[in-house]
Symmetry: C2
């Protein structure tokens, strides 16, 4: 038997396959089992990734002592039950972002993590992109100076393709639409780079999607540091993934070709980070070490399950990213009025009965 | 005597020289006279641009029947007096943007334009940049589809260099700081591209400038079309000038090297417009015909002074651009609450006694 950490995939859709490919690019974790309610999906997933076994029920999977951790890619509104069940069964849990569809569920998950002392990781992978890691180095070593404006966009065409058969169509399952699915990445990455968000001013509109959720959202974030951040996110255009940081000493512009997002081992080849200092007419490309965000986060998670690593993005970070989503929705409903992030987090804790 | 339209420069600082060079690159207008209260500046300006005469007072300049139009680059808070005096003297008037420092002054200027029937042009030059003209064509012929998100940034380092000796230091002379000086360009260009703005949600902060005015401003614009727009503008970083349009059929990304802004006949050589359609991994450069925004607007103005052309940006457009600035300031003061553009324009008209 190999010494790789034995993980099981739960929820075997498109994203489970992207993550499975990421895990199999490395040598630290092994896809040992899998579960979906659909036996056909289980069989196909086993075959595609050479997985020896699958479980006939989630309970059966969690009862298997060989399973060290689960990789959850079920719909956002199922996260709380699926995650807390696994934590209570003593399994380490990795879940795709966002941590949950609601801040109330997210807070309950955080409480169970604290209560069980379990290993819990959330797939806010984008902060691991080589360009963002490099931005962090420039901030920390002072090359950027003080950042006053940080601007990011994450958009694609999914809103135009949604149908009532997909859970992302529904406001109660995916509140915030494009923002909870795409913008939440930047909500995490910007806090990774610039520290905690203080408040959020936003407008969210449903323009061209036929679904129930907004497909055009713009949000202004004020950070506790004083910096202003912007996240634009849409679901009605060709794919865009950008972030620009404007500092008193230099600017950094990051641009990643979204069509290569899923192949995280190649994404760096399709992205550019450029620096701009005063008086330079041509922006200089910054060399980026190659990374592989999906592989890295699953290996970190696997090692953490054995106590050999620490999870970078856990419940605390994921709750703050989701709180930005909630603040965006509330600010837009209040005509743009700034909504405090702490207030949003506290009020979700104060009303545990609300879903 | 040449048949060129005879114009006179008023206010002979840095910007007057940029515009004079623009005018002299063409063959339709002639710098015939000039005025500044400082005789030394007048002499230097005459010498630099080969201008035969200057006036000892503004009244003398306006009394010269040979002067067909004036080019005004005096501080924003002097615009109303300088402009209305010239209009009442029967001169065509070109003024640098913004039309005035306050919406009340702007409304008074608009009233005098209407009353005198004079020719009046405002230097919202950036909408003439080749990239923006091309964007307009893509919108009009349907290549972009429906635009849901439009994002723009115009920033530079001026806020770090301001001193109490410069009028831009003061909140009563340059309210809105970086936004009234830089952001106002995008406020005009975005309305040129996407139609009227309905309301504005904004946060303005004074972070790194020692002056009285904000140097970090982010604004979300809702257009009457439904589209959302974003303008970011800062005064504490190397120069940035960008605009991205995200449409249901394609995206357009425009990036202009700010260090070449003043040399508008070369700016196109330092700018790129790229298109992105679905499934394309590499954005395609869009060829841009060469333009010269400063020359063009002054030639259009000169010909308009003779009734041989129509001014593209007059009081109406300039008031709407300045109204965005006012709405930004008010929204930020109200904690981000959306401020209606029509409300802002109407309330400035209702209180003519306020400066």
């Amino acid at each position: 038997m190999s010494d790789k950490v034995r993980l099981a995939s739960v929820g075997l859709g498109r994203w489970a396959r992207v993550l499975a490919r990421g895990a199999q690019r490395g040598d630290k974790v092994e896809l040992y089992s899998c579960f979906s309610r659909d036996p056909g999906k289980r069989a196909a997933f086993q075959q595609e990734f050479g997985i020896e076994r699958s479980a006939g029920s989630y309970e059966e999977l969690l009862a298997d002592p060989a399973v060290e951790g689960v990789i959850i890619t079920t719909p956002n509104d199922t996260h709380m039950d699926v995650i807390t069940q696994a934590l209570r069964a003593g399994k380490a849990v990795y879940t795709d972002k966002p941590i949950a569809h609601s801040l109330e569920d997210a807070n309950r998950i955080a409480a169970v993590v604290a209560e069980t002392g379990g290993v819990f990781a959330v797939g806010h992978s984008s902060r691991r992109l080589s360009g963002h890691r490099e931005m962090k180095r420039w901030i920390e070593d002072g090359r950027l100076g003080e950042v006053s404006l940080a601007e990011a966009n994450f958009s694609n065409e999914r809103g135009l393709e949604l149908t009532p058969q997909t859970w992302r169509w529904y406001a109660d399952k995916s509140p915030g639409g494009a923002f909870i699915q795409l913008g939440v990445h930047h909500a995490d990455t910007l806090q990774f780079l610039l520290g905690p968000v203080k408040n959020v001013t936003a407008q969210a509109r449903k323009l061209y999607t036929k679904s129930e959720v907004p497909d055009a959202i713009m949000a202004i974030l004020e950070f506790e540091s004083g910096a202003l951040g912007y996240i634009g996110t849409g679901w009605a255009s060709p794919g865009v993934y950008t972030m620009n940081l404007l500092g008193t000493k230099a600017n950094l512009m990051y641009d990643l070709d979204f069509t290569h997002w899923d192949e995280s081992h190649l994404a760096d080849d399709w992205s550019t980070l450029k620096s701009q200092f005063y008086g330079e007419s041509v922006r200089q490309p910054v060399e980026l070490p190659r990374t592989d965000m999906f592989r890295e986060q699953l290996e970190e998670f696997g090692l953490a399950a054995r106590g050999e690593a620490t999870v970078e993005v856990g419940a605390t970070e994921a709750v703050r990213a989701l709180a930005v989503v909630r603040a965006v929705i509330e600010s837009s409903a209040r005509g743009g009025q700034a909504v405090s992030l702490d207030e949003v987090i506290d009020s979700a804790q104060a009303s545990p009965a609300l879903a």
